[in-house]
Amino acid sequence: MSDHKTMTLTLIVWRQKGPNDPGKFETYTAKGITEHHSFLEMLDVVNEDLIKSGKEPICFDHDCREGICGMCSQVINGVPHGGQDRTTVCQLHMRKFKDGDTIYIEPWRARAFPIHKDLIVDRSAYDTIIQAGGYTSCHTGGVPDGNSTLIPKDIADYAMDAAECIGCGACAAACPNGSAMLFTGAKVAQLAVLPQGKAEAAARVKNMLNAMQECGFGNCSNHYECQAACPKGIDVKFIAKLNREYLKSLFA
């Protein structure tokens, strides 16, 4: 099975012991990498070597390794998730690199995402934004039949486009303002267009935007870096929708 050509790569990786450590770049060599390795499997190989030589492996967040849980979070050569269209780090494969490449690997960098260790950051600010209003206040049980309210296909599709967000944080990491407006806008838009979410739309947008600002995220100034970095291709039109919903809420 391993009859592929192999690559040798130079990795320049951000190492930081803890939130208060200044951190620095360290250089490593990744050997024996094939085009079929995923980016994280390439890091697994490097970590195995580090462990065997008694050194601490590089810490990074990862879990499902199939692009849906939103746990993986690395800036590769300056781009969150590495720059392949609609792709998380875990789904990025080494066939996108070539033998001899030098690769810079850093954690998300945004004021609201403090670093825990190496490439692992604290993204609880995203949970805080959702807790501020990213839901419909329905109770468990006692809800009407699923077909009692018809939702036209285009509305359902629009809501689904927004709901695809995996909450990875790449949008804020890519934004020069460290803004979470794509993340916040996607949830606001999803619930604002669905009949189930309309009743609380005004309060929701205000509360979520307040939470976003309190968490230390900036605002949008139309760079669109977020959409480019988003592994689910969430459209910046949801930021426009967020702004419209906010305006509407002022008159509600």
Binding site: M1, S2, G18, T34, H36, H37, S38, E41, D44, V45, E48, I51, K52, G54, E56, P57, C59, D61, D63, C64, R65, E66, G67, I68, C69, G70, R86, Q91, H93, K117, I120, R123, S124, D127, I130, Q131, G134, Y135, T136, C138, T140, G141, V143, P144, G146, N147, L150, I151, P152, K153, A156, D157, M160, A163, E164, I166, G167, Q190, L194, Q196
Partner: protein, 638 residues
Amino acid sequence: MILDGKCPTGPIEKTWDKHRFDLKLVNPANKRKYNVIMVGTGLAGGAAAASLGELGYNVMAFCYQDSPRRAHSIAAQGGINAAKAYPNDGDSIYRLFYDTIKGGDFRAREADVWRLAQVSNNIIDQCVAQGVPFARDYAGYLDNRSFGGAQVSRTFYARGQTGQQLLLGAYSALSRQIKAGTVKMYNRREMLDLVVVDGVAKGITCRNLITGEIESYAADAVCLATGGYVNVFYLSTNAMGCSVTANWKAYKKGAYFANPCYTQIHPTCIPQAGDYQSKLTLMSESLRNDGRCWVPKKKEDLGKHPNEIAEDDRDYYLERKYPSFGNLAPRDIASRAAKEQCDDGRGVGPGGRGVYLDFSSAIKRVGEDTIRERYGNLFEMYEKITDENGYKRPMRMYPAPHYSMGGLWVDYNLQSNIPGLFVLGEANFSVHGANRLGASALMQGLADGYFVIPYTIGGYLAGVKPSGTATDNPEFKKSVEDVNNYRDKLLAVNGKKTVSEFMRELGGLMWENCGMARSKESLETNLKKIPALREEFWQNVKVTGTGAELNQDLENAGRTADFLEFGEVLCRDALHREESCGGHFRVEHQYQDGEAMRDDENFCYVGAWEYKGDGKEPELHKEPLKFENVHLAVRSYK
């Protein structure tokens, strides 16, 4: 010992309603005096924590990820079953119940499965109310698709991301309760011990994965919703962090482990590409609505581009073997059929371990755009991993470990044999028997979380006095000490082999000798090799860093140590079960055509294992299964 599942009796369609009425209640003003621990916040745990918090209990919820939104429920692709019968195709609660019992090869409790089918419809309504964007038709009605093991369309879906949308629904409900202060969320915590006081579950000890601190929490009841254990095969479709650890620690404190040998090998996963590989990726069963499985009839065609192999030279083996269910044969059957073709030397791709999943007939019938609309994200994912375009050439698939039907033993109230310990979702053994049908895992997780535990936990709590959250009982102190010592022991070995080398080795043994086909000989081999590997682990594993910091190597070491113990019990269960049923296939027990041969006379029971101490054989307890509504029969999909 004969176990009693405490199932209600009487006409099956009245059982849950009657039981609900018979359960004691905790009045609203008293609920706030009770504390409940929820470990795991996927579909089952997230839904349960939200619902219990809303009822007024004080809930402490724990997950190992950085947010409850990341639980592996999120990766479920295809859909969720419900007996809504919207398509007018003859579905009913009874039919969903029947299909699930039969799909599980008659190894699940009737009453539990009936309840699941009954509440399935409430789940869809609940999720719609939360704003889950299920697929709709142009008139605005909910859309359905078909899944394996059923001849009706009862599967609701949200593109290829149904698990994600349902999990985000539960996460939003949970977030609302966190905001309301009824649920306190503890992220990045891994449960490492169950605290049992005077025979009753009273709390947990866990490791704070950021600081390394060992922390204890006390409550009036502990719920485990900690998922499945198929990472014991190392390569599986589970997330990297999925482990048996929480369940295993509960087992070592006296909870019985039921049917560990019932593991599901999913037929359509992307084949392994190399030895370095860290996981296998599933391609949703929904693809078999439109994809046709085949291999070349002639071995000399194996080297050819699949599109150049003539129609007559293709063996659509599922359609040939199972004409009435065709490509939608259940998972255990479809997986074994794929293995058979590859064992016959007609497998495709690297190592000959693959079959084709071909969409060309469907594309001809409905067009590429429709196929893209239905499964676009799956085709994208396939291309990212394999660099091949599934629209232009058939996908390559091979079975991979995916789900565990076995789990901690629970009674009808989802309570384990330890009073106060409840087990939800994939972590328990209750409804899928020996094989789970597609789109039923999401159904079970949410059923347990939204509509079962909120009632049954009340029945328990109404009978106990609230005991507060103080951890001053000596059992808590001892638990923290034990966990600390165990951690130090792992760090002290300082050997030469890495944790993942051990895990790969264990996974290899499990897949080779206890995978899709098991024999007395292969299982006995494992019962010798696994203890030897475990011994080597404790003498030669290398774990870097310290306990008092974020240390992923240490986390993996702990999970691997537990798998090294658990794998042996799994093999022991598989060895004792001298029959083939569902996902458990013993080569000694098969019909001439290779179908599984069940032995209802001797094995129509749940096998639950009790821990008797390190180095001692666990003891088997049995819960006989009675079938009063569904006639025990040879399971046929022909």
